[in-house]
């Protein structure tokens, strides 16, 4: 959420003024200037939020418990497997998968954030 808000706040209000002197009303200024400029930042924020949701453990266990195939998440599945005898290999597999997902989310988010900066500078 913070990343998304920051990307909107980074938009230069002076560009919005310029748009309005060119005949764009409020909603059009938002659609044609504010949103397109903020978009890469918004996507970066959403990817990060997704990655963070993967790691959520406490809230999942507390509110929807840990039902395989229904409310089980990667982190709660790892937890269950560790509790099971001979579950170590399966748990290790899931750990590797979650590391891969987290790393790619981070790289994707970084890529979008860089695009956002580039866009703001008009290159």
């Amino acid at each position: 959420m913070r990343a998304i808000r920051l990307s909107f706040e980074a938009i230069d209000r002076r560009l919005e003024d310029a748009a309005s002197t060119l005949g764009a009303s409020g909603p059009w200024v938002f659609l044609t200037v504010t949103l397109p400029l903020a978009l890469p930042g918004v996507i970066a924020g959403m990817v990060l939020a997704f990655a963070k949701a993967l790691g959520e453990f406490g809230a999942t266990i507390t509110f929807v418990s840990n039902i395989p195939g229904e409310t089980q998440t990667i982190s709660s599945a790892i937890y269950s497997l560790i509790q099971t005898p001979d579950g170590d290999t399966a748990a290790a597999r899931l750990v590797i998968i979650s590391i891969v997902i987290a790393m790619s989310a981070l790289i994707a988010s970084e890529w979008f954030a860089r695009r956002a900066t580039k866009r703001l500078h008009g290159n």
Partner: protein, 222 residues
């Protein structure tokens, strides 16, 4: 005809300005901090006056007594900012086309060709603003404002952010523009620039009009 009679408080600073200009190019002259930019922001509708009237060609744009405030997007007043303010996510062609799209005007390739020729920006159409020089950026900003077919063009120190060489590069375009007959309000703190461009001068000091008349008011009495 542009009629302005407004008051506005901006923190410690206040503006009380009144003038009526029939001139094709009205030069707003004053040192930095004299209220020039605030004044044209009010003409553009970006800043609301605390009191007073702004009228253009008989149409009231602001009248605080009658609670009239025409929003900037309906004024059809072009504004060329000192820092160009091109949209960084659009290329030059899309920047130029923005005003036409927003005002829902028909495509006018002839007018577009004329403006791009006048400003020599035809070869830049595919570029992004980040890849333009300061002078090119300012020319595109001029073209963008012109193509929205404004009734009045406001220019806020369009040469202010450019070095001497670039100024010499842009000035002829501005003179061409003036000779096209579009009414302009030209803001500058450079008397030499205004002597070349303006037909009438409004001199501002600490938010107040101290002199009004032909370009001769720029020459201090000796």
């Amino acid at each position: 005809m542009l009629h302005v009679d407004v008051g506005k408080h901006l923190g410690e600073f206040s503006i009380e300005a009144s003038f009526t200009s029939e001139g094709r190019v009205t030069g707003l002259f004053g040192a930095s901090g004299s209220g020039k930019t605030s004044l044209i922001s009010m003409i553009a509708g970006l800043l609301k006056p605390d009191r007073g009237i702004i009228a253009l060609d008989g149409e009231t744009l602001d009248d605080t007594d009658a609670r009239v405030h025409v929003p900037s997007h309906r004024r059809r007043i072009g504004y060329v900012f000192q820092d160009a303010r091109l949209f960084p996510h659009l290329n030059v062609a899309q920047n130029l086309d923005y005003g036409r799209r927003m005002n829902r005007l028909a495509q006018d390739p002839a007018q577009r060709g004329r403006v791009t020729d006048l400003l020599d920006i035809g070869h830049l159409l595919d570029r992004r603003p980040g890849k333009l020089s300061g002078g090119e950026r300012q020319r595109v900003a001029l073209g963008r404002a012109l193509l929205s077919k404004p009734r009045l063009l406001l220019l806020d120190e369009p040469l202010g952010s450019l070095d001497e060489g670039r100024k010499v590069e842009i000035l002829p375009y501005l003179i061409r523009l003036r000779d096209e007959g579009i009414p302009m309000v030209y803001v500058s703190h450079d008397a030499a620039e205004l002597r070349q461009l303006a037909t009438q001068i409004v001199m501002l000091r600490h938010g107040k009009v101290t002199a009004f008349g032909g370009v001769k008011v720029l020459t201090p009495p000796s």
